[in-house]
Amino acid sequence: MERNQILDQTTAIFKDILDNETIVLNDTTTAEDVEDWDSLNHIQLVVAIEKHFKIRFTSMEIQSWKNVGEMIDSIKSKLPEA
C-alpha cells in the first residue's frame, strides 16, 4: 500500500473516532494540532488502526511516535510490500 493511501485511511479513522469531519492529517501533525486527540482517544485510535490494517504495534512503538508521519511509517513497515 502506498504511503498516501495509508495517510488517507488513517485520516478517515481519525474522523470517525474523534467525530470530526474537518480533520486533515499530514506528516507533521501532532496531538496538539487536533482537537480532542488526547491520551484517552489516542488508545482508541491505535486500536482502530490496528483493527483496520490488521497489524499489531508494540507498546514502545506507540509511545515513541512524535507525529503522524512516524505513525504512518510504523504502519507501512508492518504492511506487506505491494
Binding site: S39, I43, V47, S59, I62, Q63, S64
Partner: protein, 486 residues
C-alpha cells in the same frame, strides 16, 4: 519559609534585585544566582536533605548525558533503570518504608503470627514527591527521544530545585522548562503584572478562605462524634473548599512568583468545581500531577490492556488513581481515596462519555439546570472522598460517614463550635460564594483576578485594594500549605 511569610518577602526581595539588576547581563551567572537561591530556600526549611537533593540532581544529570550518548540499547536500558530505581527507591524509602513495615506487621498479626518488624525514624525530605517526579520524567522522556539532554549542570540543578515550585509543585516537565532556563530572560512589565495579580489572588484564597476554613474543619474532624450530622456535612464542605483554596492558592502564588522572574510554569488548576463529571474534574484539578500520571502510568497501562476493551480501560484507570492516591502519602486513607476516584470513572466508561468535553454554559452567563446539577453532583462526589483524604485512619473516615447518615442531617448546623464563632462562619461562607462567582465569570482566564480586560484603572485598583483589605482583615492563624507535606 512559606510564601505568605515575612522571611520569604525579605528573601525574595534580595534575590529579585540581584537577579534582575546585578547579574541580568550574564545568563550563566543569573542561573547560578537562581540555583543558589533555590538551595537557600530549601535549606531554610530543612538543610538536612540538601545533600539528597543535590545527589539526586547530580546522578540524573549524568544519567541524562549518558542515556543520550549510549548507542547500545542494553546499556541505555540499564541507565534508565538506575534513574528509575533511584527516584522510586528514594520515594519508597523516605515516604513509604515505615508504612510497608507497619502494614506487614498488621497483616501478619491479623493472621495470628506475632511479627513485629521495627520501623525506622525517617524524616521525609521536603518536596521529594515533586522533585522526584521531575527527574523521573526527564529520564523517561530522554529514553523515548522526546527531548535532548542538557549539558549545563546549573540549568539541570536549577530545574530540579526551582524554588517557587519545589515545595508543592506544579510539577514542570523538563521539556518545557529547561529551554526557559537556557535562553536569556528579559524583565517584562506585563508578565510581572500578571505575576503580582496571580500572587494576590493566591494570597486571597489561602489567607481569607483556606486558613479561615481550617479552624472550623479542624474542630469538626477532631470532634465529629459529638456534632450533629448537618455540622459534619458543613465541615466536609469546608474541607473541600479549604483544600481547593489552599492548594490552588499555593499554585497561583508559585506561578506568579515564577512569572516575576521570567518563567512560565505549567498550570495546575482550571476551575475544577465547574466540572460536569469526575473525568472533567480530574482534567482540571492538580493538572501537572494528573498529566504526569497520564503520560507515565495510565498510557502504558491502557496500551497494555487495550485488548480488553472497557474492562482494560477501567483497570488502567483504577490502578492509575490508586497510585495517584498513594502519591499523597503513606496511609491507607490515600489508597482508598484514589481507589474511590478510580471507581467513579466506571459509569462514565460504561456510558462511553468519559472523554466528552463539553464546556459548561459556553458563551452563557448562567449554567442550565442540568449543568448546575452536574456540577453539584461532581462536587458532592469529590467532597465524600475528601472525608477519607482528611481522616487520620480509614476507621475514622467510616465513623465520620456513619455519623453523617443520621436524622440530625436535616437539623440546622451548629455554626459556633468551640472557638469558631457564627459570624466568622457566615463571613467565610460569603467569601466562598464571592470566590466562586468571580471564578465563574473568569473561567476562561488563567486565574480569578486576571482583570486586565477592565479598562478603568480606578476599578482595577479598587479590586486590588479590596482583596488586600480582606486579606489584612481576615488574616487568622497561619497554616502551612496542605500539599507541602506531600
Amino acid at each position: 519559609m512559606i510564601f505568605n511569610s515575612f522571611e520569604f518577602v525579605c528573601f525574595f526581595s534580595i534575590f529579585f534585585i540581584l537577579y534582575w539588576f546585578v547579574v541580568n547581563r550574564n545568563l550563566k551567572l543569573q542561573n547560578l544566582v537562581l540555583l543558589v537561591a533555590c538551595y537557600i530556600f530549601y535549606a531554610w526549611v530543612d538543610w538536612r536533605f540538601l545533600a539528597y537533593l543535590i545527589g539526586s540532581s547530580l546522578l540524573n544529570y549524568y544519567l541524562g548525558i549518558y542515556i543520550e550518548k549510549s548507542t547500545k540499547p542494553g546499556v541505555r536500558k540499564v541507565l534508565v533503570y538506575i534513574g528509575l530505581i533511584q527516584g522510586v527507591g528514594g520515594l519508597a524509602y523516605f515516604k513509604y518504608f515505615n508504612f510497608f513495615i507497619s502494614s506487614f506487621n498488621d497483616a501478619f498479626n491479623f493472621l495470628g503470627s506475632g511479627l513485629n518488624l521495627q520501623t525506622l525514624h525517617i524524616i521525609i525530605p521536603l518536596g521529594i514527591s515533586f522533585f522526584t517526579f521531575k527527574t523521573l520524567s526527564y529520564i523517561l522522556d530522554l529514553d523515548k527521544g522526546k527531548m535532548k539532554a542538557t549539558h549545563d549542570w546549573v540549568v539541570f540543578f536549577a530545574y530540579v530545585a526551582f524554588f517557587p515550585t519545589i515545595v508543592a509543585g506544579p510539577i514542570d516537565r523538563a521539556k518545557g522548562f529547561i529551554p526557559q532556563l537556557e535562553k536569556k530572560r528579559v524583565f517584562d512589565n506585563e508578565d510581572a503584572t500578571h505575576g503580582l495579580r496571580q500572587i494576590l489572588w493566591g494570597l486571597f484564597k489561602k489567607i481569607v478562605i483556606a486558613d479561615n476554613c481550617a479552624s472550623f474543619v479542624n474542630q469538626c474532624f477532631n470532634n465529629y462524634h459529638s456534632l450533629p450530622a448537618s455540622t459534619l456535612l458543613l465541615g466536609a464542605f469546608f474541607y473541600t473548599i479549604e483544600l481547593y483554596a489552599d492548594f490552588s492558592g499555593y499554585s497561583d502564588m508559585a506561578i506568579g512568583i515564577a512569572r516575576l522572574i521570567g518563567f512560565h510554569v505549567t498550570k495546575n488548576f482550571n476551575f475544577p468545581f465547574f466540572s460536569q463529571n469526575i473525568a472533567e474534574y480530574w482534567r482540571k484539578w492538580h493538572m501537572s500531577l494528573t498529566s504526569w500520571l497520564t503520560d507515565y502510568v495510565f498510557t502504558p497501562l491502557s496500551i497494555a490492556f487495550r485488548d480488553y476493551g472497557k474492562l482494560g480501560l477501567a483497570l488502567a484507570i483504577i490502578i492509575n488513581f490508586t497510585i495517584c492516591g498513594i502519591w499523597h502519602g503513606a496511609n491507607w486513607t490515600y489508597v482508598l481515596f484514589g481507589f474511590m476516584h478510580g471507581c467513579y470513572f466506571i459509569p462514565l466508561i460504561i456510558a462511553g462519555t468519559m472523554n466528552k468535553k463539553k464546556k459548561a454554559a459556553a458563551n452563557k452567563t448562567v449554567p442550565s439546570l442540568k449543568e448546575a446539577l452536574n456540577m453539584l453532583g461532581t462536587f458532592i462526589l469529590v467532597m465524600l472522598t475528601l472525608v477519607v483524604f482528611r481522616a487520620d485512619t480509614i476507621k475514622q473516615a467510616f465513623q465520620f460517614y456513619h455519623d453523617l447518615v443520621s436524622p440530625s442531617l436535616f437539623s440546622v448546623p451548629v455554626l459556633s463550635i468551640f472557638d469558631t464563632h457564627k459570624s466568622k462562619v457566615l463571613a467565610i461562607l460569603a467569601f466562598i460564594f464571592m470566590m466562586f462567582i468571580i471564578e465563574w465569570f473568569q473561567r476562561e482566564k488563567d486565574y480569578g483576578l486576571q482583570i486586565d480586560f477592565l479598562k478603568s484603572r480606578f476599578l482595577r485598583w479598587s479590586i486590588y485594594y479590596a482583596a488586600i483589605i480582606a486579606i489584612m482583615l481576615f488574616i487568622s492563624k497561619q497554616e502551612t500549605f496542605i500539599y507541602a507535606k506531600f
